[in-house]
Symmetry: C2
Subunit: 640 residues, 2 copies
């Protein structure tokens, strides 16, 4: 019989006793903790990683964990067995899907080939050895340092700020007149330009010591932070978390309204700062850095998120004529911006285009390659709003349609975000009309996330449970279709199968909301195409960004008329294009400048003032569309 | 019989009852308040001004008060009688000698002829009317404003900071798209340059509404603030106060030592900020302004004062090789500098040259006209240190000799600053060797201020009470010369005549300290002249700046060898040349740039490393000098 060991989880009050050889996931369950296992405990997804801070374990697999992670005690809970008394930290990331390891990051974000820190980077560490002052050379500390740096760099001017002047004499003497200033070279090192000292480090620091920067994507729902070594260009840590503003409104409109009441703007600012600063700290722990040594942060996000972050009143975004206070935000110090990085480090908000086409889109256009391709390309970011860009290296048009948050689960009775317990895929049997589904985390379902809603709508349509208008066929011989308080409804999951002890259903009101959302997005495509005289079928590729994009089933999205009907190979899912764009801008000034050029080049079409949009929207309020010739591949089985 | 009235002074707990027709000075005395009357109550000096905030008075004279002052209730306490129940505010300036009225200011500081706000001033208020946004013109608020400002000004670039962005949408709508931005145009309006928005005011503000700036002179002992309307160029209010740092050390050296201990640097910073901020408020009260509307502040002061103000560690100033951390301080925001002016307003420290030649001297060189004159000129600022500049428009050499604070009353047994109760002039009868003296405020004496020390030393020498070595002739038939615990001493004032109930004396130790101080200064002259091969007699004018300079009796200063022996008409007293220089830089960018050029042009000679200085110092350790041919006009009566 196996010896018994005590396992103490940080988020549980009491340790649990388990026999040796018990899986950490089982030990956690005994302690009342549910660890997310999206892959079903097969050791494939890496989402169940925990940190063993004390005691002996055996890892059956360390897939998706780096050697450093393992050294730090990280272990896959579903693949690791207890071999001694343990202390285990459950990282907060179990709450949401997120990348865990630098290994995974490398798959998503690759250091651009040819990245050259010395040429491309605006943050430069310049070790210099100074001549000691003497009675024959009474030059002041700052003039002495400045002269040496100008000689070393060939720059024309170097500025210093008060906080750095205050530490200057101490650092110079501490390093015995050897010092490594960190410079921010706004316009790059290649030209004869000017720079600002953002930090001073004693001694001559060799180049193999990292120099830190951060890329931050501020989503309405989720905030992502990536820590990057600016010298090698490598991402070294990443962290994701809900935007704490969620508690004050799910979408941008409700946040703008909240910001306008009393000190709502102040509250929202501190909430998102809290999230970002916590993520910076978490990313730094993973990257073995310290947030005080981050010297440059690049931020991307929709225009409302940027306004709220900086407490710039956002109300004009919501009211006609829908304008921002600023699409171009001045470069700030971290202190000014409220970020807990190095206080005199730089914070740069990438430029947006309009109230509903923010820097998440301009950054996305850069990272998607749209602005450099010869192909006619449609770039799409579906979230609360559907933002889209049509164009190529020659031209760019953009619009945003207020699709509403239906595909994020809001405005749908059993809608929810894509977290543990959400059904993310549904299949309906053509004969029996019975449903089968998959749940994130493999537990009992709590509701339906966006990808499930697309699947479900498509399956209901293709199996004839609903018609093109989204109405239920109540003549069908199945208990799953019934009349509810909101009109017709379909039962996806019976109460006894669910976590919430009630039937999970989709109602006609839900369907109506989903149809409005998809119709708004498709109408956006139509207007963009029309405005430049390019029919949708001429689009050579469709690039889909945004967190939600990753989980869309193209076939089903086409079936409901959310995406245009074209060969699947023309679709590409790019993941978080906004964060990738911020990462690219963080590394290379040319990318940052390119994003500004993209913002300037983009022609914005205001849909709320465009009659074509209303026409296109009305035409798209069928499944998949009133004009079936636009969807030749969609053959509706239950068509009557 | 006169009716009796009640007079309540703000600094007294209880009102006093006095008959109608009583002078305010007498009423004050009855209330236990001593109001400073340097001119002896003759209504000439204006130093006894108080503010009658309620009740009826009759002013016999309003000399040195402007019409506005009188309207505000200001009255000369020595010239004003009670005619009703009164409330009276005693301004704190009664503590020290200072200018009181804008009328007096005008005599000191004159708006330079040809001052043109539109061309010369770096702070510009630019009223613009914007096109309202519409669905056809969705330009962001900031882009809309920026475009209009660029058109209006012809500038190339205009930047904005976060605090201004935060108020932008509200101000634009409050002013119905009419707005008056306040710009800081670092390099002037004439060139196509860049600017920064430092404030936004709703509506179109006409040019007759003042635009405020401040000039501040931070002395080791005294801080002076001048409030200036940048449009007319006129000084509108001035205030003076002791530097609150005095409580932590009388001279720069003791302050540097204090700054190095624990949080001493923080303490000193907040003390001087307290002084400056209080003075700004006081000046604004007088100028009918509000310190939040001051958009530019120019600071001058010695290098230690500037370091301490900004909490830049000053210890290297004190230790060989005596260097500053910085002579050129970056332009700061008021928030950063700690000044309570408009938070995004600019604070500019004028550049210094070396540890002991600060911006008080470079500003002084500008305002004295030295840098533009054809004449060989010696500029001198005697305070704790003797800073001096020799030169003309062609060349400038400078040095500082640590004269020590003897002439400010420190290091002298009965020395004191030039405040109420200080003897400021002494005469000795050649026959009887009896002393006569004058006291500031006309009360009983408390001690001897700097000008009295010079007089006394000269009189003692000229009447043969001391010899050229500063030793007393103890053979004289007078009780005033006696042997004390510090060697020989002279009684200036007997205990029963004094406020301090003890004899006010000058000892041989005091004399030694004074001789060291004057010898250091004269040695400075010698080395400066020698270094450029110009004998002192070739100097065509001697310009004396600094608060102390105003009270020096040239004849007596020459007699003791403090000043070189030359015709009196070559000497000029310029008053506070540092504040005047800051005022000129505040008005006109060209002046500010000229001060930078002066700082660059000045050749600094380090005396502590110069053997010529020690030789010259030793030679000057006699009264007036070992080489009497240098002082042909000095005929010592009691010469033996």
């Amino acid at each position: 019989m196996a010896t018994s060991f005590s396992v103490k989880f940080d988020i549980s009050d009491e340790p649990v006793e388990v026999p040796g050889g018990t899986l950490l996931t089982d030990a956690a369950e005994k302690a009342g903790i549910k660890i997310n296992q999206p892959c079903g405990g097969q050791g494939r997804c890496g989402q169940c990683a925990v940190q063993v801070t004390s005691g002996q374990v055996r890892r059956r697999s360390t897939i998706r964990l780096s050697a450093e992670d393992v050294e730090d005690g990280y272990a896959l809970a579903c693949q690791t067995v207890v071999e001694g008394d343990l202390k285990v930290v459950v990282p907060p990331q179990e709450k949401i899907q997120q990348h865990l390891t630098t290994g995974q990051l490398a798959a998503d974000v690759v250091v651009p080939s040819g990245y050259d820190y010395h040429k491309d980077q605006t943050i430069q560490r310049i070790p210099v050895t100074l001549k000691q002052p003497s009675m024959e050379d009474q030059t002041s500390d700052w003039a002495r340092l400045k002269t040496a740096m100008l000689q070393e760099t060939g720059l024309n001017e170097i500025l210093i700020s008060l906080p750095i002047l205050q530490k200057l004499p101490t650092v110079l003497r501490e390093g015995d007149w050897k010092v490594s200033p960190v410079l921010y070279v706004e316009n790059g090192m290649e030209k004869e330009g000017s720079a600002e000292v953002v930090d001073l480090l004693p001694g001559l620091i060799p180049e193999n010591i990292p120099l830190w920067g951060a890329a931050v994507d501020i989503g309405t729902t989720t905030v992502k932070v990536m820590l990057v070594d600016l010298i090698s260009g490598e991402p070294k840590g990443q962290a994701t978390e809900y935007n704490a503003q969620i508690a004050r409104g799910e979408d941008v409109i409700s946040r703008i309204i909240f910001a306008g009441k009393g000190e709502g703007d102040k509250t929202l600012r501190s909430l998102v700062l809290e999230t970002i600063n916590e993520l910076l700290e978490r990313a730094c722990q993973r990257g073995k850095s310290c947030n005080d040594t981050i010297y440059k942060t690049i931020l991307s996000g929709n225009s409302t998120m940027i306004h709220l972050l900086l407490q710039i009143p956002p109300s004009s975004i919501r009211l006609a004529p829908y304008i921002t206070v600023a699409n171009n935000i001045p470069v700030m110090s971290a202190l000014e911006a409220g970020l807990r990085t190095h206080p005199t480090g730089k914070v740069i908000c990438l430029p947006g285009v309009a109230s509903y086409v923010g820097s998440d889109i301009t950054a996305g256009v850069l990272s998607s390659g749209l602005s450099e391709t010869e192909k006619i390309t449609l770039f799409l970011d579906v979230g609360t709003n559907g933002e889209m860009v049509l164009g190529s290296k020659e031209w760019l048009v953009t619009c945003a349609c207020s699709a509403g948050p239906a595909f994020e689960g809001a405005g749908v009775l059993h809608g929810m975000r894509a977290t543990t317990g959400a059904i993310d895929e549904v299949w309906i049997n053509e004969e029996t009309k019975e449903a089968a589904w998959r749940v994130i985390g493999d537990g009992k379902p709590k509701g339906l996330c966006g990808s499930a809603l697309i699947s479900l709508l498509a399956e209901l349509l293709m199996t004839g449970v609903i018609n093109k208008s989204g109405r239920f066929d109540t003549s069908l011989d199945t208990k799953r279709v019934r009349k509810g308080s909101h009109g017709g409804e379909y039962v996806v999951s019976w109460a006894d199968e669910t976590e919430i002890d009630e039937d999970i259903i989709l109602t006609e009101v839900d369907i109506d909301n989903l149809m409005r959302a998809k119709a708004a997005i498709f109408a956006g495509f139509s207007v963009l195409g029309e405005s430049v005289g390019i029919p949708l079928e001429s689009v050579e590729q469709v690039l889909i960004g945004g967190g939600f994009g990753q989980y869309i089933n193209v076939e089903k999205a086409v079936q409901i008329g959310l995406l245009p009907d074209m060969p699947w190979e023309r679709f590409q899912f790019l993941g978080n294009t906004s964060l990738k764009g911020a990462y690219l801008a963080l590394l290379d000034l040319k990318n940052q400048q390119e994003i500004s050029e993209i913002a300037n080049r983009m022609t914005y079409i205001e849909l709320s003032a465009d009659n074509r949009f209303f026409d296109a929207f009305t035409s798209a309020m069928f499944l998949p569309h009133t004009d079936m010739t636009l969807f030749p591949s969609v053959k509706i089985g239950g068509d009557k």
